[in-house]
Each structure stands twice: as structure tokens, then as C-alpha cells.
Amino acid sequence: MPLLQIRDLSVHYGAIQALHGVSVDVHEGEIVTLIGANGAGKSTTLRAISGLVKPSGGQILFDGRPLHGLPPHEIVRLGIAQAPEGRGIFSNLTVDENLEIGAYIRKDKDGIARDRTRALELFPRLAERLQQRAGTLSGGEQQMLAIARALLARPRLMLLDEPSLGLAPRIVQTIFAIIREINATGTTILLVEQNAHMALRAANRGYVIEVGRVVLSDDAKALADSDEVRRAYLGGH
């Protein structure tokens, strides 16, 4: 049974339908990516999983349990953490306080301390800036903080929304290397990206979303090699 099962998910924003029956499976241990153009409905899918938008149809099952009707703060407790689009850093708090907020749902002090150390090993640049206000970080550092913060919730499933957005290629490389490392230590990842090239290199499987529908799904390698994806998303010829 997949860790996350999305069945026929529909979402409306007022009169506008953003998702038309999207189905996605994510198995334990995988990196799965949703790629597609801006406005295709990728972020909406993640927002529906986290409970930020209410689906108008379909089902989301996490570990076999329907998430329907649960508020966002309870969904986190089930083991789904999200690093949202635009990073969602608390810029009025210090870097360290942001990390502490990431562990808000946990009470195991020792475990939190261990995960904090590990997050700071993954992102040494954050370790140098712990007492700084998070608003003073560069874009790349803020993205690192968003991922580190999600890590501190010790999620079974991590949702990453456009981690490459607005970042220099070298920093994108670093961040994707760390995403793979996080996955290698047992965290399942659902990754939303416009940067299809990077996403398909990191992922095991991928889904292509166009105007609210899944139009293609396959192994990441097969998708990267397919003519359709190359033409539309990889700038190939």
C-alpha cells in the first residue's frame, strides 16, 4: 500500500476549478515529483494534502487513513511536513527559533536536539547564523532553513514546494543533493518543481500535471527521456 494515495482529487477556488481528478501515489522511501507549468495545480495538490485548501472531491489517504476534514495542524502530527512555496520563513524570528517552531509538535527533547544537530550538519551555513533574524538570510539560505525546519518535525513524508525557485544554479545543485541525502536516510519526499530537469534527476518517479490533470506518469528516467517531456519542459529539441 502506498504511503500517500491521492484519488481523483478535485479542488475549486470559488468558481474556478484548479484540479480535475488528480491521482498520485507515493510509496514509502521514494522521491516523487510533480512537474508542470506555472499554474498547473502542483502547489494546490500540496496545499490540499496539508489541509490548507478543502478538496471538493476525491480522497487523500496517508498510511491508509483519510485526511479529509483534518485541519493543517493535525495533519502535521500524522507525519506530513511541508516546506511551502515562497519558503514561509518567519522572518521576525531568529534562525534557531524557526528551527524550534519546526519541532513544535514534538516533546522528545533528546530527539529534537539530535535532529537539530543533523539538520545543521546538512546545512552548515545555517549553523553560522543561528542567532540571526531569519529575514536577513539570502534566498538560498531561507530555502535551506525551510527544509531544515520541515526536517525537525521528523516527518515520514516531506512536501517540498518549488525549492529551486529564484535560486542560482549552484545553490539549486546543493539543495537537491541535500534532498537526496534526506531521502536516503528514510524520509519519503513529494517534490513539486518547475525545474523539471533537476526534479527528474533527483526523483524515482514523476507525474506531469497540465491545467489540473495528470497527463503523464512514469519512472523519472523514462519521463526525462520521453519526447513529450523534453519538448515541453526540458527545452530539448
Binding site: L52, P84, E100
Partner: protein, 317 residues
Amino acid sequence: MTRLLQTLMDGVAVGSLYALIALGYTMVYGILKFINFAHGDVFMLGAWVSFTLAATLGFAGGAPPWFAAPLVLLGSMALCGLLGFTVERLAYRPLRNAPRINVLITAIGVSLFIENTGQLEPIGWLAERGLAFPFGTRPQRMPALLPDATLFEVVGVQVKLVDVLVIGIAFALMGLLQWLVFGTKLGRAMRAVSHDPKTAALMGIDVDRVISFTFVVGSVLAAAAGFLAAEKYPSLNQPAHSTWILLGLKAFVAAVVGGIGNVRGAMAGGLLIGMVELFGAAYLSPQLRDVYVFSLLIVVLLVKPEGLLGKATVEKV
């Protein structure tokens, strides 16, 4: 010299009361981005509930026992905290996704409701049992629950117990709040919610609970200010009297002058407003004491509109 020190002490005392009230305005604004115009009425209720408790428990007249003051203070804080919780739950929570102007108008409605129901005549069967609630339309005199003692005298200034307690309790509560907001997990959650409620929810924070808590804390502080004000200035005007509205308004000015949304700013703004008002009254003209406060507001809005400790933000249109 005597006059200067006396004014200074009164300024700190009155200013710390403004600061206690201003904290409630600023905390709610920080989290929900709207001005809770009913907050000044919680201060008024703090004073009137203190009076009613003192009268009902038989502390009026004679020398009240030592525990009278703390009991009435805590009782008033608890009841007003409950009121703050209820108002948020019934009036503001249903409007969570409504435009801010709707919430603002609702706050004005809540304010009028509290003021005017507060002035209804006491309910018969309650009054028969010695509980005069609501408070009616007559002014009352708050019984002195604190001994009218002068602690010591410096260069002709009598330092009274009531002033020392007003300042001491107000500063203790502000210290406690400072610790709560900046030193605890819950305070961290409050600051996270005030910055971005959606992302805060993604961190597992129950945003509605944090908001309820914020209202309770703000109301509890305003109630404490109400009790202290009633002990310092015992004549209580009836609930809808304009003096209450003016006091609430001046505390709001304190929050704006300090930088609305900023906890330390509200404390600084409150003290500053108290000083400006009392020094103006003592050295210029006592008739114009309100004018000094609102002139200061105009100057701050012209020179540093984000407030003394506030950060400039660009309003998105």
C-alpha cells in the same frame, strides 16, 4: 523639585496603566491585524467587576482583610479573561475569513454592547442575593482595599502604598508578559502566528487556540489595569461614560505611538503617554491634558508613522 518628583511618580503610575491596556490592543493587532475597539471596555469592566466583587464579598467599609485586594484583583482578571475568550469566540472567530473592515465594525458593535448592557439595572433575583449585576447607571465609589499608607517621604513627596503597588504590579505583569512572548514555546508560536498564520499551521500550531489565548492574556492585563486604576482613582463613572472611552482611546494611542503590533513598543508608548499627559497637566494647563496626548499622536504619525519601536512595512494594495 517636589512637584517634579510627584509628577514623575504619577506619570509612571498612570503610564504603566496605559501600558497594560495598550498591550492588549497591540497583541491582538499583531496577530489578527485589526483594532479591537472593544478592548478599552474590558478595562472598564475590570474596574467595575472589581467594585462588584468587593461589594459582594463585603469588603466595602471598615478595614478589609489583607487578602481582599489580591482576591478581587485575581477574580476580576479571571472573569475578564473569560469575557475576552467569549467575545473572540462568538464575535470575531466567525469572521476569520471576512474582510478586516467587517471585523472592525463588529468590534465597535461589541464595544457598544458591553457599555450599554453594563448600564442596565441590576437583575432582581441577583440583587436580592447581594450581587449588583449589571452595574446600573449610577457612579460608584470603589472601596479602598489597600491601606491608605504613606510608605516614606522624599523631599516633600509622599510615596503612597497604592502608587508603589500600581507601578509594582504593572511592571511585574509586563515582565511576565515579556517572558511569555519571548521566552516560552507558546510565545514563539504567538510570534509565528502573527507573522504568517498559514505557515504557522503547517508547523503544527493550532492557530485558533493561539488567538484565543492572545485575547485572554490581553483581557487579563486590561482587567488588572482596571482594578489598579479603581484603587488609585476610586470614583467609578457608569460603564458607558465618556471617561472610560477616553481612557481606552489614550491606551490605544499609546499602542500606536509605541508601534502597533510591538509588545515592547506598547509598554514604552504607555509610559510616554502617561508622562506627557501628567507633565503637561502639571506644568502647562490641566484642562488640556488630553490635548497633549493626541498632539503627541499627531507628531508621531507625521514623523515616524510606524511608531517609536515599530518597523516600517509597506502596505500591500
